[in-house]
């Protein structure tokens, strides 16, 4: 079964320590939830955490700040989620009442064990934005990436031609610039998520890979084959 994103949703809040959104469709138990965060803050480092209303545990996969701080990007995930009914995910910033744009995405076709498969990040200044390079260990990974910038003005954010845009906030007058893109990657060659923004800004980006589920092997069948071929050796 191929891994894929079945739903995603975005939200923004400023001046609050936390905000949460409810996904539009119920989440399937066992799937993976990824939370991608863009933040503008007034402190040199940030301390984010994520939680949901089903007591799943969210692990920080990767984070990045611009060189001088103030703009931050993070990716959290929870695998094999336990859920029934609606699903609400919250983002908490314990460092300050910051401005946060975030996207929540549900991945399906992924294993119920920890399915993360590498990550990377990058930061810079200019109109060419990237996540840093990532090399998956297997084919069929979901590569999901997020970029952040902020200027108080609207900028055009163009996603990578090899990726599909999931969500974005371009209006910096009302939200922190935020773009999330995804790619189902049938290769183990290095890959980088790119964006092009309409103005030269400080930016940071992150990427994370999540493995697809692999059909379970059939050891009982294998053992029966062994018994049929070599059983006579053990019969005595």
């Amino acid at each position: 079964m191929a891994a894929s994103v079945v739903q995603s949703k975005k939200a923004f809040f400023s001046g609050a320590p936390s905000g949460s959104l409810t996904l539009d469709s119920n989440v399937t138990a066992g799937n993976t939830i990824v939370v991608l965060i863009s933040d503008y803050g007034a402190v040199p480092s940030e301390n984010f955490s994520c939680q949901d209303d089903h007591s799943n545990t969210y692990t920080l996969k990767v984070s990045r700040a611009t060189q001088s701080g103030s703009i931050f990007t993070s990716i959290f995930y929870a695998y094999n989620v336990n859920t029934t009914g609606s699903y609400t995910v919250g983002v908490l910033d314990s460092s300050e009442a910051a401005s946060i744009s975030f996207t929540v995405a549900e991945l399906t076709g992924v294993p119920t064990t920890d399915n993360s498969d590498g990550s990377n990040s990058n930061a810079g200044t200019g109109t060419a934005v990237d996540s840093g390079s990532l090399t998956p260990t297997v084919t069929g990974d979901v590569l999901i990436a997020v970029m952040s910038s902020y200027a108080g003005t609207t900028v055009t954010i163009n996603p990578d031609a090899d990726y599909t845009q999931l969500q974005e906030y371009e209006n910096g007058a009302t939200e922190v610039h935020h773009n999330v893109e995804v790619r189902i990657y049938d290769s183990t060659s290095p890959d980088t998520a790119n964006w092009t923004i309409g103005s030269s800004l400080r930016w940071c980006g992150c990427i994370a890979a999540f493995k697809k589920s692999v059909p379970a092997s059939t050891p009982s069948l294998a053992m029966s084959t062994i018994n049929r071929k070599f059983g006579h050796l053990f019969a005595r």
Partner: protein
């Protein structure tokens, strides 16, 4: 298409308040909200506001929360150009075109406030 409306400022005490319902037009995907309060109450430790954007798919019989943010008294958040106030938005409501939406507030502490709602494309 954009919609903007300031709800009346009022000096409300602890309690809850729900805005009037509005219909989500087709072609929009984001609801933006800005809470407008007097500057001198930003730092009030007694100020706490829980805001929830709700959508009804059955003409107001039942309401489903889409986004919740809890604002509390503290330093006004700063953007590159200065204070940016308290704002919130939620995207992905384009699928609810034609349905009703409203904003619910639960608050502690009396303070003067208003709310600006805007629904925008993209």
């Amino acid at each position: 298409m954009a919609f903007a409306q300031w709800l009346p400022r009022s000096n409300r005490s602890q309690g809850n308040y729900t805005t009037q319902n509005f219909t989500i037009p087709s072609g929009i995907d984001t609801v933006r909200l800005q809470l407008d309060i007097a500057p001198n109450v930003f730092s009030s430790p007694t100020l706490f506001v829980l805001l929830t954007i709700e959508i009804s798919s059955d003409n107001g019989q039942t309401w489903k929360p889409q986004f919740t943010v809890n604002w509390k008294g503290g330093t006004e958040p700063q953007g590159p150009g200065g204070p940016i106030g308290w704002r919130a938005s939620v995207g992905g409501i384009g699928q609810y075109a034609g349905m009703l939406a409203r904003v619910r507030f639960d608050s502690t502490g009396g303070f003067r406030w208003g709310i600006l709602g805007e629904i925008v494309a993209g």
